[in-house]
């Protein structure tokens, strides 16, 4: 029998159902963990007060932005995600205090000689690795020699001439030249101490060690399933008495930022980090409503910029690079891509940094950009044409489209190229690019970023060829001299002058087309306490967030705990 219900009514029911589903999806639920009135620490931190004594126990799950290729600091490629995991199973020899100074952490002391050419590292006594082996000066020697033998990590300690074990707990590091800021290089990957069992008899890192790290850190490696989870349990014999508070910690790589944020909202992870401005904006609002806590790294962090292969013929003319700087409307870029939250950059330091100096880096001037391109065309008969590379993430795709628009409007011919992250970085280091959207330079002390700027690190000196950690392949003797000066003197005024020269040269030569200063944030559920770094072993307050070498947004979990209330 034919139905008497009109077709239109059936369709209407379907539409109403669909709308209801979407309405439910867009509605928000109240935070199930309740929560006291949030307090603010620094201007952009919203965290709950740590009432009462820290509670032991519990398992914390942290969402990371990427997977890492292994966990031996002397051989694997660590970005912020690898550094976070590393800080759970290893201890760095040095950490940054609240004043930005390098302080011993796993090291008991790290002392220079009179001219800073020899440093003596003394490790703390009675510290054991997770496999029961004692921490000794020999372990430090093994580690640093492994770094010196690693093409990947050697540049971080390139000024080191030799390392020797000089006592049960001491290692002596001799430099080729004075290196005043050597301790800063030991705050991250280069300073995290793996157990000798992670190396073979010849000192070469073993494959097994990369997959099952052994350190002295607050957590002991339990298991690692790549792209799923890295699990570690509390170190019952941790040398910092009474710590850690957590029973276990799990790191889950969740590359998609939206998925990571959703996982936090649904309680599937307890903490996450992000550098996506959209996500930061979202969680700022949620933190103000008391649903989550947020801590932002407002210290000296990374910059977003276009990195230019200055040796590539397409962009080797400084007029082309200057035209790029003039053509890009950084304010609009910051508004559209960074939701207006980011801080426009005109150099490698923030204006609030003691190293900052005002330079002649140009403001947006479309007319001047066009004029410069026209001058270049008239001179060479060529239109500036190059590829602008980035990774597949949606926000990066939007960013390069906006930049392409600006650059093409100035008369350039820009094509966009997309490459997966690990290949993208490899291509950069090998010089297989012309212009890339890039993020880098987050060191607390500028000397720790010097390896990215030295002429000696420009590979074979050409556009491609060799492994160039000076990825822009910008060889500048004036910059080299300034970097040497900044490294070899303890006098702050002299160092400031040296880094002023660095900024002026970069502003004149345009190896980097600045966009904005990056912002890392750590977001946590309301039951997490100790989100920021707790006091250092000797009681001094630590840099609350960041300071893990070249990365902002890094935190240690040594004093993190979960409240049951």
């Amino acid at each position: 029998m034919e139905s008497t219900i009109p077709r239109q009514r059936v369709a209407l029911v379907a539409i109403v159902c669909a709308v209801a589903i979407f309405a439910a999806a867009c509605g928000s639920k109240s935070d199930s963990s309740g929560g006291a009135t949030p307090t603010t620490g620094a201007a952009s931190n919203i965290t709950l007060p740590a009432d009462g004594e820290p509670q032991s126990g519990g398992a914390l799950v942290m969402g990371l932005e990427a997977e890492t290729d292994g966990f031996n600091p002397t051989v694997n490629r660590w970005a912020i995600s690898g550094t976070e995991v590393g800080l759970a199973v290893y201890d760095p020899l040095v950490a940054i205090d609240a004043n930005g100074a390098a302080q011993p952490y796993l090291a008991q002391s790290i002392e220079p000689n009179a001219d800073y050419t020899v440093w003596t590292i003394t490790v703390r006594p009675n510290v054991k690795f997770h496999d029961g082996e004692a921490l000794t000066g020999a372990a430090i020697t093994t580690m640093l020699n492994a770094h010196l033998a690693s093409p990947l990590t050697k540049p971080a300690i390139a000024p080191v001439a030799k390392v020797e074990t000089t006592g049960e707990l001491t290692a002596q590091v001799t430099k080729k030249a004075p290196w005043v800021t050597f301790p800063y290089s030991l705050t991250s990957q280069a300073g995290m101490v793996p157990a000798p069992s992670m190396f073979d008899a010849s000192g070469k890192p073993t494959d097994a060690g990369q997959k099952a790290p052994v350190g002295t850190g607050p957590f002991v490696f339990k298991s690692w399933v790549p792209d799923k989870a890295f699990d570690a349990t509390k170190n019952p014999n941790y040398w910092r008495s009474g710590l850690p508070y957590l029973d276990s910690i799990e790191f889950q790589p969740i590359p998609d930022g939206d998925t990571r944020g959703t996982a936090l909202q649904s309680g599937d992870i307890s903490m996450m980090h992000t550098s996506d401005f959209n996500t930061v904006e979202k969680f700022r609002a949620q933190a103000k409503d008391g649903k989550v806590q947020i801590v932002e790294d407002n210290g000296e962090g990374e910059e977003d910029f276009l990195i230019v292969n200055t040796k590539d013929p397409a962009v080797s003319d400084v007029r082309v690079r200057k035209a790029m700087a003039l053509a890009i409307d950084r304010e609009t870029f910051n508004t559209v891509i960074n939701r207006g939250i980011g801080e426009v950059a005109d150099g490698v330091f923030k204006p609030t940094s003691k190293w900052y100096t005002k330079t002649d880096y140009p403001s947006f001037d479309a007319a001047a950009a066009k004029a410069l391109v026209a001058e270049y065309k008239a001179d060479t008969g060529k239109t500036p044409a190059f590829t602008l590379g980035t990774t597949p993430s949606p926000i990066n795709q939007q960013a390069v489209q906006l930049l392409q628009q600006d650059l093409n409007a100035a008369g350039m011919d820009v094509t966009v190229k997309t490459t997966e992250q690990s290949s993208f970085i490899s291509d950069g280091v090998l010089g297989n690019y012309q212009v890339n959207l890039w993020r880098q330079f987050g060191a607390v002390d500028p000397d720790a970023d010097a390896l990215w700027w030295y002429s000696a690190n420009t590979g074979d000196g050409g556009a491609t060829g060799g492994l160039a950690l000076n990825i822009a392949r910008n060889a500048d003797p004036q910059i080299d001299a300034a970097l040497d000066q900044g490294r070899q003197t303890a006098d702050e005024a002299t160092r400031k002058q040296a880094y002023a020269t660095l900024q002026q040269r970069q502003a004149a030569d345009f190896p980097y087309i600045w966009l904005n200063h990056a912002l890392w944030a750590v977001v946590a559920n309301n039951n997490v306490r100790g989100i920021t770094n707790g006091p250092l072993p000797d009681g001094q307050p630590s840099l609350p967030i960041g300071g893990g070498g070249d990365f902002g947004g890094v935190v240690r979990f040594t004093q993190t705990w979960l409240t049951t209330s």
């Binding site: 029998m1 034919e2 139905s3 219900i5 077709r7 059936v10 369709a11 029911v13 379907a14 669909a18 589903i21 979407f22 439910a24 999806a25 867009c26 509605g27 928000s28 639920k29 199930s32 969402g63 997977e67 890492t68 290729d69 292994g70 093409p151 990947l152 494959d207 990369q210 997959k211 399933v225 790549p226 792209d227 799923k228 989870a229 889950q252 790589p253 969740i254 590359p255 998609d256 939206d258 998925t259 959703t262 996982a263 909202q265 649904s266 309680g267 599937d268 992870i269 597949p392 997966e420 992250q421 690990s422 290949s423 490899s426 280091v429 090998l430 492994l467």
Partner: protein, 317 residues
């Protein structure tokens, strides 16, 4: 038995062809496996040594034979990215993907079969027309949209299911099924619409047959006619499509795996391609291709169970 023997012989040659195609097609990809394995800091001597170690300096047919021999002994090589043996990585990931697709197909069939039966029983009725509209709606929803909506409703707002991760099946079977429900449902949504429509259409066609009319004339109830006489011969299309989906989904779950942060085969292969880590890609593609062939072999066997005529039919060449 003869039927099975013939199918097995054919299976052997199909597997050989599939592995050969997988091997040779991957050779067409841009990039240099030896360069990736050797690393960015590799010099010429190291590169040549790596080529030798990987057997890339031999003629391609010899490489294929060696590679096939290694595959048969479980040696699929090692990832250049994280030094994990490919066979170990696949052993971790394949169960996730297989469970996901079995679970999703189960959900799809559990919903689609009763819906199809009901729709066919009263073709043109309210349920038939409503289910048709809903089916078209479900087909129109991209899987990533479905995933996000499901996560927002059931994970974030209601908190009934997790948005990422899962507990392994052997650790907690019920917990595992609970954790994988949303990803499985995401995959099942489009499939259930297709299955329901297929079954409905085939059933309506079968219900026009003379023997059905005969059964009804003999006084057999509508329900019995539907279940005992019409359903089984109406499932051929359903079985074919379900079988094809099983094979397709083994490597086609990437989007769901990405959104739900599941370490399955889809994500493994795609990450390998994007990272130019070709050894895992090679291993992953072969596993997916072989699984596809084996599943379809299984479907062929299922036809013989469903329809006895197939068991006894002779091939007409």
């Amino acid at each position: 038995m003869r039927f099975v023997r013939k199918k097995l012989i054919a299976l052997f040659f199909v597997l050989l062809a599939v592995t050969a195609l997988s091997f040779f097609m991957l050779r067409l990809l841009p990039g240099d496996t030896a360069r990736v394995v050797c690393g960015i800091s590799c010099d010429e001597a190291g590169y040549q040594k790596t080529r030798e170690e990987l057997g890339l300096n031999k003629p391609i047919p010899v490489q294929y034979v060696n590679w096939l021999g290694n595959i048969l002994t479980g040696d699929m090589g090692t990832s250049a990215r994280n030094k994990q043996p490919v066979s170990e990585a696949i052993a971790q990931r394949l169960p996730v993907t297989i469970e996901l697709l079995i679970y999703s197909q189960f959900i799809a069939l559990v919903v689609a079969i009763p819906a199809g039966l009901l729709a066919a029983q009263r073709a043109g009725g309210i349920f038939d027309r409503t289910s048709t509209t809903v089916a078209f709606g479900l087909l129109a929803i991209p899987s990533f949209v479905a995933a996000i909506v499901l996560i927002l409703i059931f994970a974030v707002n209601l908190g009934w299911f997790p948005s990422v991760g899962y507990v392994p099946f052997l650790d907690d079977p019920l917990g595992n099924l609970h954790d994988l429900f949303l990803p499985a449902l995401t995959l099942a949504i489009a499939e259930m619409a297709v299955y329901m429509r297929l079954l409905r259409t085939d059933l309506i066609s079968t219900l026009q047959e003379d023997y059905i009319t005969m059964a009804k004339a003999k006084g057999i109830s509508s329900r019995r006619v539907l279940m005992r006489h019409a359903f089984r011969p109406s499932t051929f299309s359903l079985v074919t499509v379900a079988g094809l989906n099983f094979g397709r989904l083994i490597g086609g779950t990437f989007i769901v795996e990405f959104i739900f942060a599941l370490n399955g085969m889809g994500l493994y292969i795609v990450n390998g391609i994007l990272g130019r880590d070709y050894i895992p890609v090679q291993g992953g593609v072969v596993v997916v291709a072989v699984a596809y062939v084996l599943i379809n072999f299984g479907i062929d066997m299922l036809y013989a169970v469903i329809d006895p005529r197939i068991r006894h039919a002779r091939a007409i060449v």
